[in-house]
């Protein structure tokens, strides 16, 4: 977080908020509302699947990383992110294809089949 973002974050709902006449609720975008926290990495042992949102979202913990998908057959897969303190979130407004998982190594998306070796072979 840069200094500006830090300060703005700290000012939310206080001086800046009041002066601008905005409320916290009014600034909450639709996209933000579709993001929900699912826990920390340790909550997802490899090989296990956890359900969220009354079972409508499944989070699978694969050896290559985490994958969030709709509980319906053939449903979408969703973006997973981690914040700087290790909390994981699913973003329902962003979809990933089913071969994309959240790599715990790099803290971002990676392709399921991707490895340096395979890339080398492809080249």
């Amino acid at each position: 977080m840069d200094r500006r973002a830090f300060l703005l974050g700290g000012l939310k709902g206080s001086a800046t908020g009041r002066t601008s006449g905005e409320t916290e609720a009014s600034r909450q975008s639709g996209a933000e509302a579709s993001v929900f926290k699912i826990g920390r990495l340790a909550d997802f042992p490899t090989g296990e699947t956890r359900r969220f949102g009354s079972g409508s979202i499944l989070v699978e913990s694969l050896p290559e990383g985490l994958r969030a998908r709709s509980g319906e057959p053939g449903g979408s897969c969703y973006e997973i992110t981690a914040n700087p303190i290790g909390e994981l979130s699913v973003n329902l407004s962003r979809t990933w294809d089913e071969n994309t998982v959240f790599s715990i190594m790099i803290g971002g998306p990676t392709r399921l089949e991707q490895s340096m070796e395979e890339n080398d072979e492809r080249r």
Binding site: G10, S14, R40, T46, P63, I104, M105, I106
Partner: protein
């Protein structure tokens, strides 16, 4: 929006601002003037100020121990807000530390922290944390396939071992434990017995190494707790684990406890080149030292090869406070270092010539009778007579008819079956009966009576005065022995003096070192003037040359000549690495508890039995080879390594990631290994090449307490358990070891392997700590509960040492105890065969083995009757062979004049510069070095925005070079250059130009103009993370050019190669002897030959002679000059303003 564009925007909009209706909806509406009649009545809401006032407010705080391998260890306070550690500060508890008697330390210890500790927040939550147990895919496939091997060689298919290029998979913890356990069991099984022996022969291992295995495949499993004194249970835990593996060996080979062997332990202190290898050769002790705050007791402080101000940061104030108290400070260094800038006098010498410099001081002191006669005659071996026919000490039994050796009281000769007292109760030195003959008496000459007099080991120090002998120090004569033979005898003093007078006069030493003769003489006089008041604080800088033991022997000689060993204000110390585990002498009750007879009762007394052998890591570094040159094996049998097939390390990046000769290890040695496991909390260069990585808790997340100490300060420090929740899927180091052991218990059916960690499994690790405390003389009487409670408040405890500060050789200087040597005195003559064959029975000078423009490793000596080394021909190789391999054992003598005319063999091939790689303030080894807010200060190339996308990171490695040298080579400040060392073996043996491996390995880095380094000498700091296959691939394929692996997040700080591209492993014969007597690590026992971290190879990472070639322009995107140089802010490029600044013209004073 930047400030600049915002202001620019204002200018454009300004004219129409008043008229524009929409302006009301923009932020600019706040610029409308407001009329306020009474500001106090209508002052705007100031609640916003709370945001600033509360920036440092916190919800809670807790204390944790920051303890990298920097010798300090600081209890720090973490401040938590909204569940997140936001900042770190000192605990301010050091002044409250007490010992068991209530003595307190002083508040001058506070505050205790450095910039690396302050930046730790970014590591606790950092993106290179090892976040869960990870396994390399190829390795997993090998394991899942049932560990298939070639039937003849036993080797697995190389397709499973594409380390550094493979994909990583996450495991559950139990799976990770199982993979580790099954793999180690499989390896131990396959390399045991005749089958294992056959495999190893087929694989080409040296027969001596196969012999060292003793048929026990378990010995191919190697373990290293990195600088284990930093963790009495969790880091030493790997050595306990190695000892435990004797249970597995018993199962595999079907043997009983009498024949069972454990896994092998690797060294730490000597591995890091931290051990001053000459200290045990003179004192018998691992290291003679003192706690750093002793310096204020000295009048003359000589800081020698130690960059105290940068590497001892929380303790650097002791140096400045000593100066305030009037201590004169002299820095002996190879550059104008940060410490040099704080010194009264600075001596800059050619790198690696320290032994010559010390011998120059000794020569002047001896030649001018400036030495302390009492100390020299009674506390050193200088008066002892040496037979010139055998080069052995003259023994009374050879000369005095009917002489009968008296029973010694200064060392207890143990009878067969007799057991020594427990460590904490040992007050007297002791040896097994088999070593009795090592303590034969000596002979001196009495100038008063003109008679020869026997002197025993009991006649040390003031006890010698009872003999009432007026020792003739310079005596030499021809005598007739009892057997009728006529031999010449001379004192050690006489032999040494002749060598020094012929080769090491100030004028000669001036030629070798570059220091003026008057400088040498002046310093010698000053040291001699300050008896008991001169402190030699030595650093690892001088340890990193091949001749390091000669340096120690020479410095200790100067100190002994001038009565400066063992006094509060006069002593010699060596400071590198957190090494002195003997301060916690009870450690063996944990690390070497007998796994066959475990103590499972709380409060019970454990039995000690060591089943595991140790060995030096330098043989692994050397390519899994001992030193065999010509027809001679130079590695002593007790030092002999076993083949390595598996390694598991914790708290360490120095065995792969930052290993000397790194790229040789990666390309030539790692392919021989079948299992590499690391326990770490940061994804290091070592993890890049591992098979299994266990994710550990950071110091702030500890759920098991631990304990550590240091040789440089008086505190025992506890790692307290903290309230911080684990950020990722991590475990404590000790839990991981217990987890693998539990899995091994299942694999082998041996329950004791699980019982071995009973108190960890019961979440009561404190029980093991209490056992160690109870068995340690320095800690006994404390309870772990009290110590941890204090630690939680940020307060350490004082160890119960005899003095404060602790002073090595204190008892010897007071003549209360003998030194731990054969003679009980400081020994400057080594009569053992290995020393005589190497021409080093006396303290002599050898050139560095590579870091020299002259012929390497030459013995500088005119003809001398006591220098009778073995020649290359006697070893079976050609004297003209000066390759790196033979050079290590090549004994060739030259006079000073001949040396100066000689050349390094590479000089004819445009190799021009000495290249050395010391450590710097922004890293403790590689621990915090890539933390961005810390890293950007690592020289002038830090740029958090990475404007030049060639930068591998927010900072990058560079080579310091004298501007005049650089200009002569057409290299501008900030240019990228290649550094190439001896192509015979670097960056790795068998490299092929144009290959991917070579591209990754050949170092390319920035050149920094640095006027502080002499011409011909270059330097790159040791600490930065080097290039890997993943980082190079990322650097070349990512749009932003960042050298951050797309597979692992590993962040290199070099585009290509690293400082280790130019280093290699070196093995030194006199560090591999079977005969050197020294103290055991713990207690008061004496032993001979190999001892990990005491007597074994130390390597020589500063030995490199290189060629420098320009690679790219330093300007943005390879265009032109690097901007700071182009702007005139760099040395030799100064613009007018800079020139004015340097002349101090921006300062104006009165008058």
């Amino acid at each position: 929006m930047s400030r600049r564009s915002f202001v620019k925007g204002l200018g454009i909009l300004g004219g129409s601002l008043a008229a524009a209706k929409w302006a009301q909806a923009t932020p600019l509406r706040y610029f409308k003037p407001t009329a306020i009649e009474n500001p106090l009545a209508g002052y705007p809401d100031r609640d916003w100020e709370k945001t600033y006032r509360n920036i440092f407010a916190h919800d809670s705080s807790f204390v944790f121990l920051c303890a990298p391998n920097d010798t300090h260890n600081c209890l720090l306070k973490a401040f938590v807000k909204n569940g997140v550690v936001q900042r770190i500060g000192p605990s301010y508890g050091y002044g409250k530390a007490t010992d068991l008697y209530g003595n307190t330390s002083s508040h001058r210890w506070d505050p205790r922290i450095c910039q690396k500790g302050l930046a730790l927040v970014r590591r606790f939550y950092g993106d290179r944390r090892v976040k869960a147990p990870m396994i390399r895919r190829g390795f997993k496939e090998w394991a899942d396939a049932g560990y298939p091997r070639d039937a003849k060689t036993g080797k697995p298919d190389a397709k499973y071992f594409r380390r550094g290029k493979d994909k990583w998979l996450r495991l559950q913890w139990n799976q990770a434990y199982e993979y580790a356990a099954k793999t180690m069991h499989n390896i131990a099984e396959n390399y045991s017995g005749h089958k294992g022996e056959g495999f190893l022969k087929e694989q080409g291992y040296d027969p001596a190494m196969i012999h060292a295995l003793e048929g026990a495949g378990v010995q191919t499993l190697k373990f290293r707790g990195g600088m284990a004194f930093l963790g009495a249970t969790r880091i030493f835990g790997l050595y306990r684990f190695a000892n435990m593996l004797s249970l597995m060996d018993a199962k595999i080979r079907g043997v009983g406890p009498d024949k069972a062997i454990g896994g092998r332990g690797w060294d730490s202190y000597s591995w890091h080149t931290d051990l001053p290898p000459g200290h045990p050769m003179v004192t018998g002790q691992q290291t003679n030292d003192f706690e750093l705050f002793a310096v204020e007791h000295s009048k003359l402080l000589i800081v020698w090869g130690m960059n105290w101000i940068t590497t001892k940061m929380p303790d650097s104030h002791w140096l400045t406070e000593a100066r305030l108290k009037g201590t004169k400070t002299v820095a002996i260094t190879v550059e104008y270092s940060a410490t040099a800038s704080k010194a009264d006098d600075v001596v800059v010498i050619r790198p690696g010539t320290d032994p010559a410099f010390a011998l120059g001081l000794a020569q002047h002191i001896m030649a001018n009778n400036l030495y302390d006669k009492d100390f020299v005659e009674n506390k050193t071996d200088f008066p002892f007579l040496v037979r010139l026919d055998t080069l052995q000490p003259l023994r009374p039994e050879e000369f005095f008819a009917g002489y009968k050796e008296p029973e010694l009281t200064s060392v207890k000769i143990m009878k067969a079956g007799e057991k020594p007292l427990p460590g904490a109760e040992q007050s007297d030195q002791f040896v097994p009966g088999s070593m009795k003959d090592d303590f034969k008496p000596f002979v001196v000459f009495d100038r008063k009576t003109r008679k020869y007099v026997p002197v025993t080991r009991d006649d040390y120090g003031d006890h010698a005065k009872k003999l009432n002998v007026a020792v003739e120090l310079k005596h030499q004569a021809d005598i007739t022995l009892l057997d009728g033979s006529k031999v010449k005898v001379r004192t050690v003093f006489s032999l040494s003096k002749e060598y020094l007078d012929a080769n090491m006069t100030p004028a000669q030493v001036s030629l070798i070192t570059g220091c003026s003769a008057s400088g040498i003489i002046g310093l010698a006089k000053e040291i001699a003037k300050n008896k008991e008041k001169t402190i030699f604080a030595c650093g690892m800088g001088t340890n990193q040359f091949f001749n390091a033991d000669l340096k120690d022997r020479a410095i200790l000689m100067v100190a002994a000549l001038t009565r400066n060993i063992g006094f509060a204000g006069g002593n010699v110390g060596s400071y590198s690495g957190n090494y002195k585990s003997s301060l916690i002498g009870g450690e063996p009750v944990y690390a070497a508890e007998d796994p066959f007879n475990l103590q499972l009762e709380k409060g019970g007394k454990p039995k000690i039995k060591k089943y595991s052998h140790y060995e030096s890591l330098h043989y692994f570094n050397y390519g899994e080879r001992p030193l065999r040159v010509g027809d001679k094996m130079f590695t002593g049998e007790g030092h002999m390594p076993a083949p390595t097939k598996s390694m598991w390390l914790n708290n360490s990046n120095s065995v792969i990631g930052n290993i000397k000769w790194h790229f040789d290890v990666v390309n030539n040695t790692l392919p021989k290994l079948e299992f590499i496991a690391y326990s770490d909390w940061w994804w290091t260069g070592s993890c890049e090449y591992a098979d299994l990585v266990f994710a550990c808790d950071s110091w702030a997340e500890f759920k098991h307490p631990d304990m550590c100490g240091s040789g440089s300060n008086p505190f025992v420090q506890i790692f307290p358990r903290t309230p911080m929740a684990r950020v990722f899927d991590t475990r404590g180091d000790i839990e991981i070891i217990a987890g693998v052991s539990n899995a091994l218990a299942k694999v082998t059916g041996e329950k004791r392997m699980s019982d071995m960690w009973k108190f960890v499994n019961d979440n009561n690790t404190a029980e093991y700590l209490q056992r160690i405390i109870d068995a340690s003389a320095t800690l006994k009487g404390n309870t772990i509960a009290d110590l941890e409670e204090k630690a939680k408040q940020g307060i350490p405890a004082l160890m119960n040492n005899r003095t404060y500060p602790r002073i090595s050789s204190y008892e010897q200087a007071k003549s209360e105890k003998p030194w731990h040597t054969k003679s009980g005195r400081l020994e400057f003559y080594r009569p053992e065969v290995e020393f005589i064959e190497g021409g080093e029975n006396m303290v002599i000078y050898r050139e560095p083995v590579d870091s020299t423009p002259h012929e390497p490793n030459v013995i500088v000596a005119a003809k001398h009757e006591a220098i009778r080394f073995k020649t290359p021909a006697e070893y079976g190789f050609d004297e003209k062979d000066v390759s790196s391999e033979t050079r290590q054992v090549r004994n060739v003598a030259m006079t000073t004049g001949e040396l100066m005319k000689s050349s390094h063999p590479l000089r004819l091939k445009n190799y021009t510069h000495i290249y050395h790689t010391p450590k710097y303030r922004h890293g403790a080894h590689s621990t915090p070095v890539d933390t961005d807010i810390n890293a950007i200060w690592f020289g002038p190339f830090g740029d958090v925005y990475r404007h030049d996308k060639r930068m591998p990171s927010v900072v990058e490695g560079y080579v310091d070079i004298n501007p005049l040298d650089a200009k002569a080579m057409g290299i501008e400040d900030g240019d990228y250059v290649y550094i190439d060392a001896d192509p015979e073996d670097r960056p790795f043996r068998g490299f092929k130009p144009g290959s991917e491996e070579y591209k990754v390995a050949r170092v390319m880095l920035r050149a920094r103009y640095y006027p502080g380094t002499p011409r011909g000498v270059t330097r790159t700091w040791h600490n930065m993370y080097g290039a890997t296959f993943g980082s190079v691939k990322a650097h070349e394929s990512r749009p932003d050019g960042l050298a951050k692996s797309g597979e692992t997040n590993y962040q290199s700080m070099y585009r290509y190669g690293s400082h280790q591209s130019a280093t290699r492993a070196w093995l030194r014969p006199t560090q591999m002897t079977e005969t050197l007597l020294h103290k055991t690590m713990y207690g008061q026992g004496l032993e001979k030959g190999f001892a990990a971290d005491i007597h074994c190879p130390t390597g020589a990472p500063r030995e490199s002679f290189v060629k420098i070639t320009k690679a790219e322009d330093g300007g943005m995107n390879s265009q032109g000059m690097w901007r700071p140089a182009a702007l005139g802010f760099r040395p030799t490029y100064e613009n007018q303003a800079m020139k004015e600044y340097l002349k101090g013209r921006y300062m104006k004073g009165k008058g």
